[in-house]
């Protein structure tokens, strides 16, 4: 026998898989820590934080200025050795680390505190949690639809390669990919508003007083246009990737084997090609999560959808930095976690990963 014994194989496989999982989880934790640090220093290094601008206002009385500095924690050094980063002002390296802005930021984070919105004076965490669910609702519906439609069209295009169906699907995919999300949103909104669809928001004001079914119907009506825009934009890439991936798989030797076994074209697609061709899609979905967020920001901005993206849009308009900072943190962490989930799914889909 010129290969490892079965016993040996069974011992090796799980060990490798645990190490693989541990590696992935560890990397995600490290990435999240990196984002935490980045998020803190970004707002300290770059100029333009209005809290700082506010305390420099010459018309302000010294006491009021001091009160503001204390309120935003600006009276404390940024971190050991640095009192401030823009402009760089060196400070005492021996201060108690827990009394620096950085550790106060970490401590607040651990307690789920992201600061107070400049604009509404509400806790940022409170605003964002409510908006996170709206975004998940919109992204979830849009992703599921675009993945479903994109993969179906991609499979059709690859199966009917080099026919009019294929060229039509390819062109549709390329155009959909080239559409700026926000512009497609505007066009759809323009069309929808003249066809009786609500022009924005998540629900008609006052709908809360109506029975649940009516509320759900109202939200669905509000969701229709943004979900349509979302689906069209993201369908394009899934279509292109699925088509190209399936074309590769269908040229493999094992497809010829399946054909020689007498399986029909449908059976070959279903039992031998789809799973293999789906593997790159899982990776693309993971890599795309960042783009998904970008799409959500634009669509929520166009349709005034009260989600995280909308929060970023509004925070930029009113320069509401605590909300901007919190939203970025929440989005980045969500994307990292979703990425981890996609990675782990991949392990279960592809048996080869486990023993590599």
């Amino acid at each position: 026998m010129n290969s490892a014994s079965p016993v040996g194989l069974e011992r090796i496989v799980p060990l490798n898989r645990y190490r693989y999982l541990l590696n992935k989880v560890g990397w995600s934790v490290f990435t999240i820590l990196f984002v935490l640090v980045l998020n803190f220093f970004l707002f300290r290094v770059l100029p333009g934080d209005p809290a700082r601008a506010l305390t420099k206002d010459p018309r302000m009385k010294e006491a009021a200025r001091e009160a503001l500095r204390v309120r935003f924690g600006l009276d404390k050094p940024v971190i050991n050795c640095f009192d401030s980063l823009t402009p760089i002002k060196l400070g005492d390296c021996g201060v108690n680390p827990l009394e620096t802005q950085f550790f106060i930021y970490i401590k607040n984070l651990l307690q789920g505190e992201l600061g107070i919105s400049y604009k509404t004076n509400r806790a940022v965490s409170e605003i964002l949690v409510e908006r996170l669910w709206n975004t998940i609702l919109l992204i979830g519906a849009g992703q599921i639809l675009s993945i479903f439609v994109g993969i179906a069209l991609g499979v059709l295009a690859a199966w009917k390669a080099r026919t009019a169906i294929d060229y039509g699907a390819l062109f549709t995919g390329l155009v959909a990919w080239s559409l700026p999300t926000f512009w497609l949103g505007i066009i759809i909104l323009f069309w929808g508003s003249s066809h009786g669809f609500p022009i924005g928001g998540k629900a008609t004001p006052g709908i809360g007083a109506y029975p649940f079914l009516q509320q759900a119907g109202d939200i669905a009506r509000h969701m229709f246009l943004p979900t349509l825009a979302y689906t069209i934009v993201f369908m394009g890439e899934y279509l292109l990737v699925m088509r190209s991936s399936l074309l590769d798989v269908l040229a493999e030797d094992y497809i010829l084997t399946a054909k020689a076994k007498g399986l029909s074209a449908f059976q070959i697609l279903k039992d031998h090609a789809l799973k293999n061709a789906m593997l790159p899609i899982v990776t693309i979905i993971a890599i795309n999560l960042g783009f998904t967020v970008a799409g959500a920001i634009q669509i929520e901005a166009v349709f005034s959808w009260p989600g995280l993206g909308g929060a970023i849009f509004e925070a930029v308009e009113s320069r509401d930095y605590p909300v901007l900072q919190g939203a970025f943190l929440l989005i980045a962490v969500s994307v990292i976690l979703a990425n981890l989930i996609a990675d782990l799914t991949y392990t279960y889909l592809d048996p080869r990963v486990q023993s590599e």
């Binding site: 290969s3 700026p180 505007i186 040229a251 094992y254 054909k259 320069r319 970025f328 080869r352």
Partner: protein
Amino acid sequence: MAVQELELKPAVPASPLTGFWKMFRENRMAVAGLVMLLVIVFAAVFADVIAPYNPRSYEGIQSGDIYNPPSATHWFGTDDAGKDVFSSFIFGARNSLIVGFFAAFISIFIGGTFGVLAGFYGGRIENFLMRFTDLMLVIPDLPLIVIFVALTKPSLWNIILVIGLLGWTTTARIVRSQTLAVKSRKFVLRARAIGAGNGHIILHHILPLVMPILVVNAILVISLAILSESTLAFLGLSDPLAISWGQMLNFAFGRGAMSVGAWWALVAPGFGIVWVVLALTLLGNGLEQVLNPRLEAHHLMPGRLPVWGGEAESYPATAVRKSRRRKDAAMVLDVRNVSVAYVNGNSQVKAVQNVSFQLYEGELIGLVGESGCGKTTLMLALLRLLPAAGQIVNGQILFDGRDLTSLSEAEISDIRWKDISIVFQGAMNALNPVRTVGDQIKEAIVKHNPAFPQKRLETRVIELLGLVGIPAAYKDHFPHQYSGGMRQRAMIAMALSCNPKILIADEPTTALDVMIQAQILDLLDELRAQLGLAIIFVTHDLGVVAEMCDSVLVMYGGVTAEYADVDTIYNSPRHPYTQELLKAFPDLSRPERKLAFIPGHPPKLDALPPGCRFAPRCSQAFERCVSEMPRLYELKAGHVASCHLAEGKSR
């Protein structure tokens, strides 16, 4: 040998670019993209001349000019400030392209440098750079760009810098893998061996090879940068002094274009973005196809139906070989005058021409000849498994009283595997990597015998694997857990799963070690004796042929060189090619004999010599061989050879 190889190679085009331009011009996607891009670049460069109005000046604008629909004076209508949309549109192209090109330049520079350094140096440098790339890849771009621009000043150059500094991750990854691929090429190793420095190698040997892929990627990065810029502008983060399409949309959307129905103010700028991004996408995709052409042909594309009922009638009945083993043995396969061509547009390449042979139950036919002689094409044709370009252009394949060339796809599917199964050459990828081997065997059984008792399936799989010496525990393993030889044996087990009448084995034992090889051959011999399995054995191993086969078909350049029973072939071969093949094979009974080899290569099927295909390599060739292709001469019942030397001796 080296001289001959050179002569056989097609003429190299004068410059590598000539070939590139020719392919580029033929690629409709790339040409369309380039033309679309040139149009918009032209508009951007000559904006001052083309635009009828100055988009920065409010001169002569009155309150009645706000949101006017398209007209002869304002082709795209007017905007919220009464300005000409067409003029802003033209000037907007300028800023979109500036941001796109400069930001992409920064991204490509950073990503390219990271990729080349990581791929070239490897080790710690690679680890650090790629980990950093992964880190940046997972952090969502747009929110980060928004924060950067919001915290600094949204000037044109700030936007370029931020988009450029954050958009290099995919480039780094692509360039790294390309660098890895080229750095172990021969001439790079050679340059290193003669003492070239790292900098020299990177600049003069690696970079030129990475460049094509970098250009394709750069086009994609430009389009992403343009999209990012327009999104930023739409979100209100744009240089107030620089008109851009995103900014026009921001103004129109924010200042009531929607409610007054001024669609022109919304459509025009968006159309510009789509135009540029689509142009770049088409150009990028087209370029990639040109630089890295792939066949886009696959096994599920409908094949060309056989042309049937052709010249098969002219097939001489006397040429039929009789069974060697038993007088009453039934003929299971009668292949008559089969020709196969590969069709590409109007050109046809004949890969197999007028090949005939007979196979009796319980017999083994050996199909021999060098690589590229049409053996595998013929085997695929028997089961109608030819690639989409392949077509049976002539002949009949008679099995069980039916002509396989005339069956529908559904009818031939029923015959595949159940009656005729096939083990492909080099079975490394012949098993599906994501399904267990046992599962794939079961699938074949259930497909052709849906009534097969569920309970017996497992034992049947174990029995089949046992036949080829694979332990039962391996049935639930995936192909990648098998060694190459085990995969080959698993394929043989699978091929036997439906008790076929005919087994086509295309070099089934080449990947196996000698012990296993003998074991497999014994197994096949046993199945033949016990179950009457008929086997077509494609091989280079004349020893195996001599030992096991009943008849031999020697193919050369797509035609039958010689066909006879095994004793005739070994004792009185008539075709010089058969004679040379036998001389090239070691004979254990005559160890003193020197091994001969046949100089040269089999002819390319698209450049066949006008006369006998073997003439250029034949030591016995004379004038007639060069000008006239010999027909098949029948030397005695069941012995044919296509050689002019056989003419006089034929009946």
